[in-house]
């Protein structure tokens, strides 16, 4: 196939960013100091013009010199103006596909596309900063086309039962990728309103105002004016009340708009092969990840969300996300817990949040209470040396006592919240004192398992188990103080159930029981 360049819109995008980043310097040199003949201002103007000229040339040349080519099973990228860089990224390494479409790009009907791999460092991803939507679709199809071909080629191999690796085995037994997309979730107005209150985004108005204030203050002397304004406020009760009310209204409106811009057009959809998450009204973010590449599911319930019965489910994937996209793998953070669990089931045929988990034995509580309270001890030591003396703050022994009460209360709550289940191909942990976190993964997605037992745990017949999953950085999960028998079961679950030895129909059987159970 032929080599292509990015869309020329790439140049516009870079120029737009250049203008955005140099605007403050421009305003300073050419507007605020427009009458100045001082040597450094004149020199500064010439340096500014030279820098802009060089950057513009650089932008155009680097667009000209960057080309890419889609091969049968990889993508080749050549870049660099003088020192050339040639990269070849095989499709099989691509884990996630992200898009981040700022409003500028959308104006021109363009999109950005990033292919994330599991590698480390700067070569971890391939970014197409500006391409047409049709071109993006072509690249994604090339990824899928390669997979489809490979799956068909794998069929006879898995059928004869030779060494195949788990990925192919599952791909071989699954249906061919269908192109029918099912939409699983889009928020309604009430979801957006709920989100805007729960995300506390109205509080974000304060830092925004503060930044604005300090930026303007650099150029105008706001401080003295503000003082005058404050004394004016203090002078009249009605004015004060009105100002506070106006501020509250502004904050709430700001919060709703901000939340709407981020979560307003959320959409979670899937086809047989992939999961798609997109969000954002002005800047559009989207993620598409193969279902087989989802390593685990993590469900987080903060204390506040627990009160309201909400939960956030997140996909743990291998490819990392660039800045601004970190939370794109979340399945809408303000879903009801039941709905979040259902959604996981709808999206991932292989992973299911289990019901009826086991609780820890009484011995676990004893062990937890007996553990040395390092944080509280060190905190007490620090307090006894420091002896803080502030108005309204109680004496240090009271603070130290509060620290101990808090530590032990947290231990008790954590004990109460901790649950585990080892069933079929799945393992699920749930824990947390204030926030509760549930983690569920499949056996073949666990790249390492650990069982450990401390001296204290040995006395009380409990043990700690841990899993490591692929992610960037690796996702390590640990559950403390399981009964000894469960830890042994966990070890057997990991070492004795060879996925290649489990017959496909047997696997299906365990799924059926799980489904009817939940």
């Amino acid at each position: 196939m032929e080599s292509r360049r990015m869309h020329p819109g790439r140049i516009l995008l870079s120029l737009y960013e250049l203008v955005k980043n140099s605007a403050i310097v421009f305003i300073f040199l050419f507007v605020l100091r427009r009458g100045s003949d001082a040597g450094w201002v004149v020199a500064g103007r010439w340096i500014f013009i030279a820098a802009i000229a060089i950057s513009t040339l650089n932008i155009i040349l680097s667009w000209w010199r960057t080309t890419y080519r889609l091969e049968a099973d990889s993508v080749q990228i050549n870049s660099g103006i003088i020192s050339r860089k040639h990269r070849n990224v095989p499709f099989r390494r691509v884990q996630n596909v992200n898009r981040q479409v700022p409003a500028v790009l959308r104006l021109f009907g363009l999109t950005s596309l990033t292919l994330e791999t599991g590698a480390d460092g700067e070569d971890a991803s391939v970014k197409f900063p500006a391409i047409t939507k049709a071109e993006a679709a072509r690249i994604e199809e090339a990824l899928d086309g390669y997979r489809k071909e490979r799956m068909e080629a794998d069929r006879p191999v898995t059928g004869s039962g030779s060494i195949g690796g788990e990925a192919q085995q599952m791909a071989g037994t699954g249906p061919l990728p269908g192109k029918i997309r099912t939409v699983h979730f889009t928020p309604e107005l009430k979801d957006v309103l709920k989100a805007s209150f729960l995300s506390f985004s109205f509080i974000a108005l304060i830092p925004v105002l503060a930044t604005l204030y300090s930026n303007i203050d650099d150029f105008f002397d706001l401080d003295s004016r503000a003082e005058g304004f404050l004394s004016f406020l203090a002078g009249s009760g009605i004015v004060l009340v009105i100002t506070v009310a106006l501020f509250a209204v502004a904050a709430i409106a700001f919060g709703i708009i901000r939340t709407y811009l981020k979560y307003g057009r959320y959409e979670i959809s899937s086809d047989d092969e992939r999961i798609y998450i997109r969000r954002g009204v002005l800047t559009e973010h989207s993620l598409s990840v193969r279902k087989k590449h989802v390593q685990a599911i993590q469900i987080t319930e903060t204390p506040f969300k627990r009160l309201l019965g909400l939960a956030e489910a997140k996909l743990v994937t291998v490819g990392s996300f660039e800045e601004g996209l970190e939370d794109i793998s979340s399945l809408y953070p303000f879903l009801g817990k039941q709905r979040a669990v259902e959604l996981v089931g709808e999206l991932l045929p292989d992973i299911r949040v289990l019901d009826g988990m086991e609780r820890l034995p009484k011995a676990a509580l004893t062990v937890r209470m007996l553990r040395f309270p390092w944080t509280a001890m060190i905190g007490t030591l620090v307090l006894s040396f420091w002896r803080p003396d502030f108005p309204f703050v109680p004496d240090w022994p009271v603070l130290a006592a509060a620290l101990f009460v808090f530590t032990y209360a947290l231990r008790y709550f954590d004990y109460r919240n901790t649950r585990y289940a080892i069933r079929g191909p799945l393992v699920q942990f749930s824990k947390g004192g204030l926030s509760r976190e549930t983690f569920v993964t499949r056996r073949e997605k666990v790249i390492e398992a650990a069982v450990s037992q401390s001296f204290l745990q040995k006395r009380f017949g409990v043990a700690t188990v841990g899993t490591t999953n692929r992610a960037k950085p690796v996702h390590v999960e640990e559950l403390k103080d399981l009964p000894k028998s469960a830890a042994e079961q966990f070890n057997r679950w990991y070492t004795e159930r060879n996925p290649e030895l489990v017959r496909a129909d047997e696997e299906a059987e365990s799924w059926k029981t799980l489904r009817s159970g939940s």
Binding site: G164, F385, E448, V451, T468, T495
Partner: protein
């Protein structure tokens, strides 16, 4: 009540005790010297009392931990280390107070290597490292012959099916 988990068979070299004793003596010796220097300097220049108290406490703790990690720990650690590999997994078991069992599937092994510092070289030993996609594990103090055989074995078993990227 000990865990009933199938243990790997391989043991590490008895010379490990000597190597660890030497390296811990060097490490703790340096730390103790630093503390001694600070305490001497402090009493000569009349530092604050609380600073001296802290120095004595931490110096004393270091001395206690030196006794433990030079005299006691190496023996037990050497005695409790087990490692092994079958077709499916690399297994490790170690720990003095806390016993750790680690299991790494062959399919997830990314690299395996041998390392040898000056002390290990003196005793003809190697440390074997097994790296997965995100972490790595070391089996310390293996005799040269065993280390190389074990490395080659893992390399062979892990290579057969490396698929999922």
């Amino acid at each position: 009540m000990e865990l009933d988990i199938r243990e790997p068979e391989g043991r590490i070299s008895k010379k490990a005790v000597t190597v660890w004793r030497l390296s811990n003596t060097i490490g703790h010796g340096i730390t103790l010297l630093v503390f001694a220097g600070l305490i001497i300097a402090g009493s000569r220049f009349g530092w604050w009392d609380w600073a001296m108290t802290v120095l004595w406490i931490f110096g004393g703790l270091t001395a206690l931990s030196a006794v433990y990690s030079i005299l006691i720990e190496p023996v037990i650690l050497q005695r409790t280390w087990r490692y092994g590999a079958d077709e499916e997994f690399v297994q490790m078991r170690h720990g003095v107070l806390t016993v750790q069992h680690q299991t790494v599937p062959m399919t997830k092994v990314q690299y395996v290597g041998l390392e040898q510092g000056p002390l290990l070289r003196k005793y003809g030993l190697y440390t074997l490292t097994v790296g997965t996609m995100g972490s790595n594990h070391s089996i310390p103090a293996l005799p040269e012959q065993e280390a190389k055989e074990f490395r080659n074995r893992i390399a062979r078993l892990a290579k057969i099916r490396e698929e999922e990227e």
